[in-house]
Amino acid sequence: MRAAFERRRHLLDFAVRSLARRPTKNLGLVAIYALVVFLVGSVMLYGAAIRREAAVMLASGPELTAQAMVMGRHEMSRTTDVAALKGLRGVRRIEPRLWGYLWDSAGAANYTLMVPPASDGAHALAKGEAIVGEGVARARRLAPGKMLFLVSPAGKFLKTKVKSVLPADSALVSSDLVLVEESDFRAFFELPPDVWTDVAITVANPREVATVAEKAALKLPGHRFVTRADMTRTAEALFSWREGLALALLAGALLAFAILAFDKASGLSAEEKREIGILKAIGWETRDVISAKLFEGGLISGLAFLLGVIGAWTHVFFFSAGLFEPVLKGWATLYPHFPLAPTIDALEIATLAMLTIVPYMAAILVPVWRTAAADPDAVMR
């Protein structure tokens, strides 16, 4: 037992000394390796964190949304449609909603204008008041008490006083949001009093969402019904697509790393082979050589992985993934600024390790095993 421990200790010690013999080469390798882990890790950690964030925020939305459809396109719902849904079993609350998009040519940004639902007392507004998202406040340099002027495509003006700015922790879905009072909204978009953008339906028992959707569809055949699960899946698909896009952009770095690994796998240098031959000649077994080389590879990949993951974690959770923000976050030009809750996702870390450490260790193992398994004389020749 003690001899086995001492053996491992000696081999580890040899691996450290062996690495120290080529400090420039090995530090360079660690730096490149850590950079790859940092880039891939940033995208993966950010993608996972933003999907979590979206799921948490969508969890507070309505279980079901009804949207009128005409020729496959979203149309306005009528007050009569809302009335048709009243009394449906299993429905706790029905709230018609008003929202729409506005292109602000001055700010070169797209805003989402919305009327806060009647049940949302925290965001209740009086005529002439507005609550703005964090991105809008940033773009228009707004603060509570300041005036916000908007111009509709038809040339209508809306002059509102900012009541408050929405908190940054909801910025993923509220960054470009402008909440206004109902009569201001209708006047601005020239909407008659009996139309609504869609209808939010709150279901008493979340397990019955599908059943309620089926029943509601019978009542309003011209509407489509989008469940919260659909919304969550869409958000996940969107951010996964963005994550994939970012990884595709990083393909160059990954390719360089693959070439590095292939270079390792395709053979050892003459010097490395000679050293393995010497070790075998003076009495090392094949497993001793492999152990020492795996210790070397483990130290390099472990250090690089640690540096890369710490860097990626810091980049994502403390610097909001500044390098990938335009690709991974938001839409239009108002990228949401919000802090992600720092978390350690063991599955993400394990996946990252599988993507980076395992190929590298395999790339080391194969040529070392091939060389170490040969007769020492043949290797030294």
């Binding site: 421990f5 001492e6 013999r21 003076i282 009495g283 090392w284 094949t286 001793d288 020492p376 004389d377």
Partner: protein, 226 residues
């Protein structure tokens, strides 16, 4: 006693560049004696040395150590025999650059799991014995040829082998260093070790410590004296 029976070694067998380096050698190497293989370059003496030292397997024939046939052993057992029986001093010393003299000397013993302190003490003791007390922590590439050879000898002795094998030990040494090497070889013989060398250097082949001189040519033994 090391016994060779009809040992041949063929390189690139079956290819157009096939070379028979050793052809049908029978030889007994007695314990506790100094045996020298001599012959011109290309005579097969270094190849025969690697076969005897279990660094390479014979193409045909058998190698026995104390009656036990070792040439057919699987790799793992062959390594064990090599580690327990032989200590090697290579022609170009084959020290690992970038490591200190001490680190090189302890190398053969690392996989044995010997306690660190006792291993270092033994290695330092060997280096001091060979007059290298002030070179213990010096990287081997900074040593002179004679010093490097003595580090290689210390490395060969760290596992206390029964047989010390030296390939052309004086090839890169001046006259004074040759004398030092012969003194070490004599000391090894005195302590009961078997010493097996290859050389075509008359200062070695004609030295008084040599008990047996084996002359090779074209891969075969042409003379054994006495």
């Amino acid at each position: 006693m090391i016994t060779l029976e009809g040992v041949t070694k063929v390189f690139n067998q079956g290819r157009h560049n096939e070379v028979t380096a050793v052809g049908g050698v029978d030889l007994d190497i007695a314990d506790g004696r100094v045996t020298v293989l001599r012959g011109p370059s290309g005579s097969g003496k270094t190849t025969l040395l690697t076969v005897i030292g279990c660094l390479a397997r014979p193409t045909t024939g058998r190698v026995r150590i104390d009656g036990e046939m070792v040439s057919g052993l699987p790799e793992r057992f062959l390594t064990e025999v090599r580690r327990r029986t032989f200590g090697f001093v290579f022609q170009k010393f084959n020290l690992i650059r970038g490591l200190s003299a001490l680190d090189n000397v302890v190398l053969p013993a690392l996989p044995l799991g010997v306690a660190h302190r006792s291993l270092v003490d033994k290695a330092v003791g060997l280096l001091e014995h060979f007059g290298l007390a002030d070179r213990v922590f010096l990287a081997v590439e900074n040593l002179s040829g004679g010093e490097a050879q003595r580090v290689a000898i210390a490395r060969a002795l760290i596992n206390d082998p029964a047989v010390v094998i030296a390939d052309e030990p004086t090839a890169s040494l001046d006259g004074e260093r040759v004398g030092q090497f012969l003194a070490i070889a004599e000391e090894l013989k005195r302590t009961g070790k078997t010493v097996l060398m290859t050389s075509h250097d008359p200062r070695i082949t004609e030295a008084a410590i040599v008990d047996r001189l084996v002359t090779m040519a074209d891969g075969r033994i042409v003379e054994v004296a006495p």
